[in-house]
């Protein structure tokens, strides 16, 4: 694989990460912020895969692939946890009485 190829993917991954982080900071809607976290995660995974293609020869380095698999498992759990938490927080907010949470 020519040298420039994997760098494009790595830079694209960094860009995705930056876009995701920006949305995480500016979006007020909680669901959008969770999606922004997922975009950040995808960016990180893309960087890993791109760096796996760094090795000379046709066969990529399998170690980053294994790490990405682990990362995907973690990010699915994280998304589940965040969604459950948002659900509970909204339920609690709707039944909260004024001055209850001082």
């Amino acid at each position: 694989m020519p040298d420039a190829d994997y760098r494009i993917y790595a830079l694209a991954g960094m860009a995705l990460f930056a876009i995701g982080f920006y949305s995480m900071l500016v979006q007020a809607h909680l669901l959008r912020r969770i999606m922004a976290l997922n975009v950040m995660g995808s960016g990180v995974f893309l960087v890993y895969i791109a760096l796996g293609a760094q090795t000379p020869g046709p066969i990529p380095d399998p170690v980053p692939h294994a790490m990405v698999l682990t990362g995907i498992v973690v990010s699915v759990c994280a998304t589940g946890l965040a969604l459950a938490l948002v659900d509970r927080a909204q339920a609690a907010a709707s039944e909260v009485e004024p001055g209850d949470d001082a």
Binding site: F17, V63, V74, A82, R88, D101
Partner: protein, 405 residues
């Protein structure tokens, strides 16, 4: 018990107990006590092995670094494991009675989930301190974050859930910063194994970016000023044993990873400028946290802001240790403070839990006369406070005398 058995039981006993407690809620209290016993024995055994034979390693399933997972225990790991076990045992004992005192269904519901989450948190901490590579540290850090966030939400109040939401967003994005840094380090060095990184690392722009990303993520998780905003609401709105766990143990884990990164994996990049940045942020945290603590109307918020300040003291370890002369003194002093703060903060949050329970609130203005109702708790609270101040004085006053600054 060989070191492999000791390390395996430190990770596996709380993990198995957590799964069992989740399935059989009635066993919660006894399983937690059992785990406390096993983990306590294992950590003492491991400490003796490390003292006698130096660094202990174990290749899980025979697969060693760089591909497999290696468990490793050295002096620093053992210290962190001992602190964790001490606090863990104390909280397991305290929580035997904490949830009983509230006779309603909500309290039972909270206790049902407290035990498995507490044991998961303990698993994550032990696994983190035994990890020998930066990717495993990511996985264990994430496990720790999940357990911690859920424990914050445990109280179920609106304030607690809001704090947990804020915490989960900080925690997850901080983890992704760390993970991206790990990827870049692997791209540069071709390994994630902590001991081999020091040999492979060649300072360059890519490595600096990687370290900056990892450090940024870890600093947010360790609640160092100015990224401490999530800590006071999260720690102050949780049930007492949870506040104690979070303040005493959870914020120490990212700090431990920072120590590993900067002093073990990349000592070549630990320039005086970097050390000074850590020092400046630490000093700002001490001032900011302490001043804010003075103005808090609620007892638990005072303790939480004091944690922000005390974490600042921990970060002074970087400039003091990096200054070659007397570096070892600063290192030991910093780690001693870490252990002392963990014990004192646990005592403070647990006694604040008693006060909150007896008075029904923790507004400092209306706590007049609490010493007559809870003399022992208030005395313990005072002792913990003295430990926080008293240990600060010899450190601040004594170290310059030893040629450190």
């Amino acid at each position: 018990m060989t070191s492999a058995w000791a390390m395996a039981s430190l990770v596996l006993s709380p993990l198995v107990a957590a799964a069992l407690t989740f399935a059989f809620p009635r066993l919660g209290r006894s399983l937690a006590l059992g785990t406390a016993g096993v983990a306590g024995l294992a950590v003492v055994r491991l400490m003796r092995l490390v003292f006698a034979g130096g660094v202990q390693t174990h290749r899980v399933s025979g697969w060693g670094a760089p591909l497999g997972i290696e468990l490793r225990a050295d002096g620093l790991s053992v210290l962190m494991l001992i602190v964790t076990a001490l606090i863990g045992v104390a909280i397991a004992l305290y929580s035997q009675r904490y949830f009983v005192s509230e006779h309603d269904d909500e309290a039972r519901h909270r206790e049902r989930y407290f035990w498995p989450l507490f044991l998961f948190l303990w698993t994550a901490l032990n696994a983190l301190y035994l990890s020998a590579d930066i990717f495993n540290l990511y996985v264990t850090l994430e496990m720790l974050g999940f357990a911690a966030v859920t424990l914050v939400a445990l109280a179920g109040t609106h304030a607690a859930l809001t704090a947990a939401l804020r915490y989960v967003f900080v925690s997850l994005s901080a983890s992704l910063f760390y993970l991206l840094g790990v990827g870049l380090v692997y791209g540069q060095c071709g390994t994630v194994d902590l001991p081999s990184l020091a040999a492979q690392a060649r300072p360059g722009p890519a490595l600096w970016v990687a370290l900056a990303l990892m450090t940024g993520g870890l600093v947010a998780k360790a609640a160092l000023f100015p990224l401490h905003g999530w800590l006071p609401p999260a720690h102050a709105n949780a049930p007492a044993p949870v506040s104690a766990l979070l303040s005493a143990l959870v914020v120490k884990a990212p700090f431990y990873i920072l120590l590993r990164l900067w002093f073990e994996a990349f000592p070549a990049l630990m320039t005086p400028a970097v050390a000074q940045v850590f020092g400046a942020l630490g000093a700002a945290a001490i001032l900011w946290g302490s001043v804010h603590a003075l103005f808090q109307p609620r007892l638990k918020l005072v303790i939480a802001y004091s944690t922000v300040a005390q974490l600042g003291y921990l970060f002074l370890l970087f400039p003091l240790t990096a200054a070659q002369e007397g570096g070892f003194m600063a290192w030991s002093g910093g780690l001693m403070l870490l252990g002392a703060h963990a014990c004192a903060k646990t005592a403070m949050f647990l006694t604040a839990g008693n006060i909150l329970h007896a008075a029904g609130h923790d507004r400092i203005e209306d706590l007049d006369g609490i010493t007559h109702i809870l003399p022992v708790s208030v005395f313990a609270f005072g002792l913990a406070g003295m430990s926080l101040i008293g240990l600060d004085c010899p450190r601040a006053a004594g170290l310059p005398g030893n040629g450190c600054c």
